[in-house]
């Protein structure tokens, strides 16, 4: 395929973006003096800043390229990732879990595991999270390389190396503070850079109604075809969506993944921290109006022989992730192409910055300071954070090649989440809400949970067992297998943790004050009027969620 190519105006827009980002990095460097500034952005952010950063850390290349490509592949069911697969978990984090996280003044999620359980559980989760983050980080490199490959015709190797070097230089400057600044700028650039694709797609096809009418029924509904997996594009039942995605994967990601939770830790007080995921939930619900619509528009155009639209093919295999870049090329004139490419690059930069800033925090506090150098000074930890950033980006290069071997980014992502986040959510849930769960129960529950998930993945991949064995239905897609594997990993971890806790030594209750419900003083200020409380906004968010599901049922 010929590269789409960029004009002078496109290059100018891209140069303005990079000039701003690097300029902001230098501007903020003088405000990054302590380890708290580098790792937690000084804990001074409002709920709006933390909330948009919370969402944007997740709104990386994965969301933009992966979800548009996945909509082309699986249809409207992908919207479940944004609605039932995100909103309940985000609200649960804000209402129930944030008081434990924020009030304990921890620097990372593994840090909570140390206080609630013990050092070995913290280190186990720290290592698993660090590995997972580097695997996910590779996706961002791969995605940026895809953009450079599609638009400029650069080869894969050159694109990935240039991407890695750019991020390595940028993220080492001022840690989480600059990561959050970039994430918020990225949020605006994504909306201004990509929403126009949906608008122009609707104009070309005629209307939103026309788009849905020209897509097969298996691809244009949310729930009505979920009783029979052969009737929907994702080949999954409602049980897999609710248990695997809506419960385990969603709660596992949004409530325990340090990449997003770290943004809430940067809030200036508990109320702002609780409002962080709740505010983000409203914007999360709006993202399908970019990615899902764009995916459906690509599908309609590809099915129309007169449109001249077709996705890229790599070695005879359809490259679903090329849908969004090709739509940009179709609709955007000179200059706007630069804005579209910038939005994609910004998504990549922010996603990568998010992963690397979470990785350097967990490595520095939960592995290096916890195991390797317990007496490290503040200055040394700040230095180590910067070194970890460079090393993390370098390792991500290797994982980027692995990500490239998967048929779509999202399949790769959900496979990884089902290994690490799904069992961790069982541990966190039991740890925060059940007093008698023991350190040994949590540790072995996590080991068995992660081990079982990875074993199930290998068993299906190498055909030791049938995929239908874990999905309880036939046919089943890769995504259905991911959802169900996450559910089984969660259930196994949940049961093993409880059973072992019956027979092992409990922590004294006085050590659990502030960490477990029932032993923690109520921190909610009852004097605040109801309409200013996080609970009020959470209820509104839930109502919007229900309305959206009914409309697109």
């Amino acid at each position: 395929m010929h590269a789409i190519g960029l004009s002078f105006a496109d290059w100018l827009i891209i140069a303005i973006y990079f000039g701003f980002i690097i300029g902001i990095g230098f501007y903020l460097r003088k405000y990054t003096k302590s380890q708290d500034d580098f790792f937690l952005a000084g804990r001074k952010n409002s709920s709006w800043v933390a909330g948009l950063a919370f969402l944007s850390a997740n709104l990386g290349a994965l969301e933009l390229l992966g979800m548009t490509g996945n909509t082309y592949k699986y249809g409207m069911y992908v919207a479940h990732f944004y609605w039932i697969g995100a909103i309940p978990a985000m609200l649960f984090l804000g209402i129930y879990m944030m008081p434990f996280y924020y009030s304990s003044k921890i620097k990372s999620v593994p840090g909570y595991l140390k206080l609630r359980f013990d050092e070995k559980t913290r280190v186990l989760n720290g290592i698993a999270f660090a590995i997972m983050t580097l695997l996910v980080s590779g996706i961002n490199l791969y995605a940026m390389a895809l953009v450079l490959h599609t638009f400029l015709g650069w080869n894969w190797d050159l694109s990935m190396w240039i991407s890695a070097i750019t991020v390595g230089i940028y993220v080492t400057m001022s840690g989480l503070l600059s990561a959050i600044f970039t994430e918020i700028i990225q949020f605006f650039l994504i909306w201004f850079g990509l929403f126009l694709v949906s608008i122009l797609g609707i104009v070309e096809i005629g209307s939103v109604h026309e788009i849905f009418a020209r897509v097969p029924e298996a691809f244009n509904t949310l729930w009505s075809t979920s009783g029979d997996p052969s009737q929907n594009g994702m080949m999954i039942t409602w049980g897999g969506i609710v248990l695997g995605l809506g419960f385990v994967l969603s709660f596992g990601y949004w409530t325990t993944d340090f990449l997003v939770v770290q943004r809430a830790f940067s809030a200036k007080n508990l109320r702002s921290a609780r409002m962080t995921p709740i505010l983000a939930s409203f914007f999360k619900m709006a993202v399908p109006f970019i990615v899902i619509l764009a995916g459906l528009i690509a599908l309609v155009l590809a099915n129309d022989p007169h449109s001249g639209f077709a996705l890229l093919k790599d070695n005879g295999q359809i490259n679903y992730d090329s849908a969004l870049p090709l739509l940009i090329a179709r609709y955007y004139p000179r200059g706007l192409v630069g804005l579209g490419v910038t939005a994609l690059l910004a998504g990549f930069m922010a996603g990568q910055a998010g992963n690397v800033s979470a990785f350097n925090t967990v490595w520095t506090y939960d592995i290096y300071k916890s195991v390797i150098n317990k007496k490290a000074s503040d200055e040394h930890l700040l230095w180590m954070g910067r070194v970890a950033t460079v090393v993390g980006v370098t390792i991500s290069l290797g994982t980027a090649y692995w990500a490239k071997s998967f048929p779509s980014i999202m399949d790769y992502m959900q496979a990884i989440f089902s290994w690490v986040n799904a069992p961790l959510f069982a541990t966190m849930l039991l740890g925060m809400f059940v007093v008698w769960i023991t350190p040994a129960g949590a540790f072995w529950g996590l080991i068995v949970g992660m081990g079982s998930s990875f074993t199930l993945y290998l068993a299906v991949k190498f055909a030791w067992i049938s995929r239908n064995f874990i999905t309880l239905s036939s046919p089943a897609s890769d995504m259905a297998a991911n959802f169900w594997r996450a559910w089984w990993a969660w259930l196994i971890c949940f049961i093993v943790t409880i059973v072992i806790s019956f027979f092992t030594k409990k922590k004294p209750k006085e050590e659990l004050v502030g960490l477990v419900k029932g032993l923690t003083q109520e921190t909610v200020n009852k004097d605040i009027p109801f309409i200013k409380r996080p609970e009020f906004y959470a209820i509104i968010s839930l109502v919007v969620l229900v309305i959206l599901n009914v409309i697109f049922w």
Partner: protein, 67 residues
């Protein structure tokens, strides 16, 4: 330091200006690149929208300082 919203306004304004001027230039010169819906000139009105939104953020935050 300046709040993040000021920088958001600045980048939207500058990029909007480039798009708008570029769009107006090609309106009179004719653009060699063929795109679907080219006749709607999305760069002009989308650039204009970015200029307006950018200006609102800049004006609202020009005197604000945060810790």
């Amino acid at each position: 330091m300046k709040p993040i919203w000021y920088f958001v306004g600045l980048i939207l304004f500058v990029m909007g200006l480039v798009l708008f001027i570029n769009g107006v230039y090609f309106l009179f010169q004719g653009d060699g690149k063929q795109t679907a819906l080219q006749h709607l000139h999305p760069d002009i009105w989308w650039g204009g929208l970015m200029i307006i939104v950018g200006l609102i953020y800049i004006i609202k935050n020009r005197k604000v300082k945060v810790d």
